[in-house]
């Protein structure tokens, strides 16, 4: 039992509730939310150290033993993602002090962000399928409100689609929970894994796993992503950065968790399906990114494509590929947040979202340009940056397994993403300045400052990949060997 496991959930929840009382005091709101997110980062680091030294940490909520009560499990994979989520959210909050207008701040923007963060952290840490659903809903409810906050026509339209899609997938989630409970009589992830390993993954259970695959794919944007580019482009940059970095990754986490811990017996059916969906996502997402001219939409398709790429690793599911998946997932959270934030500054400077109407930004804000270039190179996976180790491991893993098509898809995707991002760079930053805006530039220099930590992290994770690797390795150990997870949950 370790009560620290619940802290990444409790801190944002408390902050969110306290901020409701202070919704008119903007300065105080900003300070409290910043301090709380910093605290979250510290707690996540502390948890990570604990997991490193003493193994998986668990907490049986209200003292009920595992298969009966709800258990929170902090293994290395979950803790790494919690840490990444906390860092990303801290930077996005820092950005939103200047990037979000006061009207939104007064309408509970920070409260909603913290509720969402609690949902995200809860989804990472929970060891119970139904509790995962609850945390998902907490996260989604706040995201609905965040998307529509501000209330322009476009936001309403996109939010309606977004809610409808998510309500449908949540309904399917509960249905698959019902079927699983009917078939196995438990909802604890570790217990489910044990029961299914004992009785064998029969046909009906495989069908339920396919249903869960659909549910999580909708949330992650794996193949069923038609709603994503529109709804992520509707809110302002700080919010789309949070969405792009966190929400889809939670879906991806759920996919990896369930298909490595529970449904790993019928690989030729489920993982084959995941592989097919991954390749399709990569192709469609890549073409989407290449063909768009709207900055936010290009980034939206980038999010989709990288989800496809991580799913490649899940389809292969050997140790190397999963190691790559963990590394890439963490990297992707950070780099996508960075890209969305930088794109937000770019749009604010040029006053348009269309790349072919921009131009010459490099001449009056060189720092923004070079940061954008480095971030793009990190997405693509140029060696000294953080995208490289993850990408290498995933492709290496799929070649080891003889999955040459998957590996090839991954490599081709890289080229497409490079093209789509360099297009923004060339059209947006090179050439003649169309609308020089001196007034905005001072503002955006402060905004740039808030994305600097993410930038440094990208470089750090790339250059010092060696000291990061043991953590990633340990996360991948648990993903390849479910018994470690099961033993940790039932040890008491």
């Amino acid at each position: 039992m370790n009560n620290w496991v619940v802290a990444p959930l409790l801190i944002p929840l408390f902050t969110a509730v306290i901020l409701i009382f202070l919704h008119n005091k903007l300065k105080l709101q900003r300070w409290i939310s910043l301090i709380s997110s910093m605290l979250n980062v510290c707690v996540a680091i502390y948890l990570m150290v604990q997991v490193r030294t003493t193994g998986i940490q668990t907490l049986n909520m209200s003292g009920w033993a595992p298969p009966y009560g709800i258990v929170l499990v902090a293994d290395m994979f979950a803790v790494l993602l919690v840490l990444a989520a906390s860092i990303v959210s801290a930077c996005c909050l820092l950005y939103s002090f200047r990037g979000i207008d006061e009207e939104r701040e007064r309408h509970y923007f920070y409260t909603l962000v913290h509720f969402m963060l609690a949902g995200v952290n809860g989804s990472f840490l929970t060891g119970d399928l139904f509790n995962l659903f609850v945390c998902f809903e907490l996260m989604l409810m706040s995201s609905y409100a965040l998307i529509v906050l501000g209330g322009t026509k476009r936001q309403f339209r996109e939010t309606l689609h977004y809610i409808l899609i998510n309500v449908l997938s949540s309904t399917l989630f509960v249905a698959s929970v019902a079927y699983l409970y009917g078939a196995t009589g438990t909802l604890n992830l570790a217990h489910l894994s044990m029961r299914i390993a004992e009785s064998g993954q029969t046909g009906p259970i495989t069908v339920v796993s396919a249903l869960l695959l659909v549910v999580f794919s909708v949330k992650a944007g794996l193949f069923l992503f038609f709603w994503l580019p529109g709804s992520y482009g509707a809110p302002p940059a700080a919010i789309s950065a949070l969405f792009g970095a966190l929400l889809t990754k939670v879906g991806m986490y759920a996919l990896i968790r369930t298909f490595t811990l529970i449904f790993y017996h019928e690989v030729q059916v489920t993982h084959m399906l995941i592989g097919t969906m991954a390749v399709a996502t990569i192709i469609l997402g890549g073409f989407g990114a290449v063909s768009q001219t709207n900055v936010n939409r290009i980034l939206g398709y980038n999010v989709i494509a990288s989800i496809g790429f991580i799913s490649l690793a899940l389809a292969v599911s050997n140790h190397d590929a999963l190691q790559g998946a963990v590394f890439y997932l963490v990297h992707d959270m950070i780099v996508k947040a960075l890209l969305f934030l930088l794109a937000g500054i770019l749009v604010a400077e040029t006053g348009t979202e269309r790349v072919n109407r921009m131009g010459g930004v490099l001449s009056h804000s060189p720092l923004l340009g070079w940061m954008f270039l480095i971030a793009s190179l990190a997405v693509v996976g140029i060696p000294p940056l953080s995208g490289f180790p993850g990408k290498l491991l995933i492709i290496q893993g799929s070649i080891e397994d003889g999955q040459y098509i998957l590996a090839a898809a991954g490599v081709i995707l890289t080229l497409m993403l490079l093209y789509s991002l360099i297009k923004i760079f060339i059209l947006g930053f090179w050439g003649k300045a169309r609308r020089p805006r001196e007034a905005h530039w001072k503002q955006s220099r402060k905004l740039l400052l808030s994305s600097a930590p993410l930038m440094m992290l990208i470089i750090f994770m790339g250059v010092f990949a060696e000291p990061v690797m043991p953590y990633v390795q340990r996360a991948a150990d648990i993903l390849t060997d479910p018994s470690i997870y099961i033993q940790a949950v039932f040890k008491e």
Binding site: F130, F133, V134, E137, M141, Y144, A145, V148, G151, K153, R154, F156, R157, T159, L160, I163, L164, V167, L168, S170, T171, V174, A175, V177, A178, Y179, Y181, G182, L187
Partner: protein, 118 residues
């Protein structure tokens, strides 16, 4: 008894999906809430419909019902209550802003909007 519930779940699912596929926003909201009801019934049916005492200690009863699905259903009802309420408020606001509850017209308007910008 399970068969009856299964049929009801089927009917609710059909009706819900039919409503969601219509164009009117209000009907879509109703459709989602029907779907969630269907799922709750499904949860109840999947955990076997049996009668018995409430699962409390020290009541001296022979047969207890399974408390877990009921807890799940209650949680799910609470969540869906929140979401449906939010969805309704949002639809109302969207109606005020966009002057229509017809999804088709919302889309065509957005296409027009996009065309103009181009």
């Amino acid at each position: 008894m399970e068969v009856v519930v299964a049929v009801i779940v089927g009917i609710l699912f059909t009706a819900g999906i039919y409503l969601i596929l219509t164009q009117d926003l209000l009907r879509i909201v109703l459709g989602t809430s029907l779907l969630t009801h269907a799922v709750h019934l499904l949860l109840m049916a999947m955990s076997m419909l049996k009668t018995g005492a409430a699962p409390l200690l020290g009541r001296g009863k022979e047969q207890f019902v399974d408390p877990l699905p009921q807890a799940l259903i209650l949680t799910s009802i609470v969540i869906n209550f929140g979401i449906t309420a939010f969805f309704l408020v949002l639809s109302y606001r969207a109606y005020q802003k966009l002057d229509t509850t017809d999804m088709e017209r919302m889309r065509s308007e957005s296409a027009k909007h996009r065309g103009r910008r181009r």
